[in-house]
Symmetry: C2
Subunit: 338 residues, 2 copies
DNA sequence: ATTGGCACTCGCATGATTGGAGTGCTAGGC
DNA sequence: GCCTAGCACTCCAATCATGCGAGTGCCAAT
């Protein structure tokens, strides 16, 4: 099968290029990968692959380099994911072992992922919209100032301190607390606004401004775009990038500092592992990077996403395996112990 | 006064070097800074400064470059801080305006600082040890699992979920909550352990394991080294670094990912603005960087520290002014509204 | 379809050359 | 005693030329 060998050639090119970071020529290929054909044949295949846009040469008389399209084909054909090695498994387990709270678990996860893949790791906190409320606490800070603390079933704790329109006595605060918890506990954050909507009759009309402020605050706290937290690790791994620093790495660092960009980046990942390569990114700064991301927690309805970001020239099979494995472990860990 | 002019020459060298990033020669100096003397005289002064170790030349027949010691002298002599420009003041105010909670305020602060100085900004959350407890909440997650939420007077909210040694009924939880709050509210976190130490007589002996677990958890949560959070921004500004990426920027990025290093970095800052230059850092990775840090919040007893990190070749007067101003603003903001 | 052969193209490393910026020193002037 | 002008010297950085070699594309033969 000729088409089959073509793909094999592409695979070999990618493998070598990822390993050496240098354009790879026909001769080197025949030596390192025992494809049973001569360099000339490879050259023909290469020409054909180049026509198809899967590889390119930086300049005449240099070797070939995979294009984004080439990587894409390679990844799509990547049927079987290679399992992690035993030491890697152990690393994952021992790393997550002993996380004391959500922050800790997320922090360990992101560092683990960075260490395992030698890329930049990105982990999103369990999404608020997809969480349900477990408890709401109101704490009086000053006569007119109240702190709202919102605890979700995914272990997240959100706080906000608010200036009330009027003095808010401890009594009223207690009633509010009871009412809010009775009304909201168990609901998704997305539904909170609706549940609170009906102004409750059991409050004195004099207290209406304060009750309204309470409703407004909780609605705002559970609003969608708000407060999706994301953490990073392994930015120093960007050193892998070849070429000039300020032209290649800087835009990536800049993109990584934009919460919005990061969110969009991770947001589009499906539940199963998703790969986005080079120009498939919307953001210009990421045009020379690839993302491998997946959802984690609660099979069928992931809590949030995590993934890694690296140069397009990366070890896709290995990284995909790592991302998948870490997602599985941290998902299990969270659902059982938070 | 000759010594006076020498210093003026050093100052001029630093100024030009910071601006151009290139070794500066005697001729260029006389042209750009109207010191009333000839290049030859400057050369003599330079020779003397070099003897003193304040400047150095990368190679013979190149201009001079300030050494760490040179910067140090320069900074120490920097008596008057130049005030910020009006637009800068406005930027600070409008940036902090509208922060809704502590996370938000800290996030805005760190971005502001990065933007203002074009360096990497580092902001530490209000230190737990220096905070007092405002409220403790216990929330039942499952029959045997309890989440502790600790709210401090500095607006921080810490959580931890714990597996209890035994089933913990809602009744007992209520008693614990009341007792803990009665005992701890108002105390410094550092004192919590001591306050809780005496085993209270008003609990049934059957509940002792749970009470002990509660005490242990709170003690641990208020333990010193624990959970000092730090946030970064502006890492892409590291592009300013000249030279090879992996030798100059990478170690810095690595250092910045180490919480421990960061903490030590900021930890040593006094209340007033502190500058640490190049080799004055303990960490090797930071030997080509300078830190400008200061405490913020509560004059006389700062809540925590913040600062910026950049190449030793940086605009010290401007950066010092920015750090000081931001610290003042955020300090005021926090003490009045959290 | 595959292969060996061959001419051709370019990038890159090497090495020599040169220009110029900058220095140190010395002798003379204030 | 301090400053200045002049001068010889050093050494980096940019420029250019050169040769090498890896790699290609094409063609004719199998």
């Amino acid at each position: 099968m000729v088409a089959e060998r073509r793909f094999e050639v592409l695979r070999a090119i990618i493998e070598d290029y990822v390993a050496t970071e240098e354009p790879v020529g026909s001769k080197a290929l025949t030596q390192r990968h025992h494809l049973g054909v001569s360099p000339a044949t490879i050259r023909n295949d290469m020409a054909s692959l180049e026509d198809g846009g899967y590889i390119t040469q930086p300049h005449t008389s240099a070797g070939r380099v995979p294009t984004d399209k080439g990587y894409r084909l390679f990844v799509d054909r990547l049927a079987s994911v290679k399992p992690l090695s035993a030491p890697e498994r152990r690393a994952i387990e021992s790393f997550l072992e002993g996380a004391v709270d959500l922050d800790d678990a997320i922090g360990r996860t992101v560092r683990l992922l960075a260490q395992l893949t030698h890329q930049v790791a990105v982990v999103q906190y369990p999404s608020l919209v997809r969480s349900a409320i477990r408890h709401v606490e109101l704490v009086s800070l000053s006569p007119t100032r109240v702190m709202f603390v919102l605890i979700t079933d995914t272990g997240r704790v959100e706080q906000r301190s608010v200036e009330m329109p009027d003095v808010c006595p401890e009594m009223l605060l207690g009633e509010l607390r009871a009412w809010v918890n009775a009304t909201c506990v168990g609901s998704r954050l997305a539904d909170v606004s609706a549940k609170l909507g009906e102004f409750p009759s059991n409050f004195e009309t004099a207290d209406e401004p304060i009750v309204r402020a309470t409703i407004a605050t909780l609605t705002e706290m559970s609003a969608e775009q708000n407060e999706e937290r994301i953490v990073l690790a392994g930015t120093s791994n960007l050193a892998k990038f070849g070429g000039d620093f300020s032209t290649s790495v800087r835009p990536v660092l800049e993109a990584l500092e934009e919460q919005v960009v990061l969110l969009r980046l991770l947001g589009e990942a499906a539940e199963s592992v998703t790969v986005r390569i080079g120009h498939e990114h919307q953001d210009f700064g990421l045009h020379s990077t690839s993302l491998i991301a997946t959802g984690y927690g609660r099979t069928g309805d992931p809590l949030a996403n995590l993934g890694i970001l690296g140069p397009t020239r990366m070890d896709y099979p290995g990284s995909i395996a790592a991302v998948r494995a870490v997602a599985a472990y941290v998902g299990a860990f969270l659902t059982e112990s938070v």
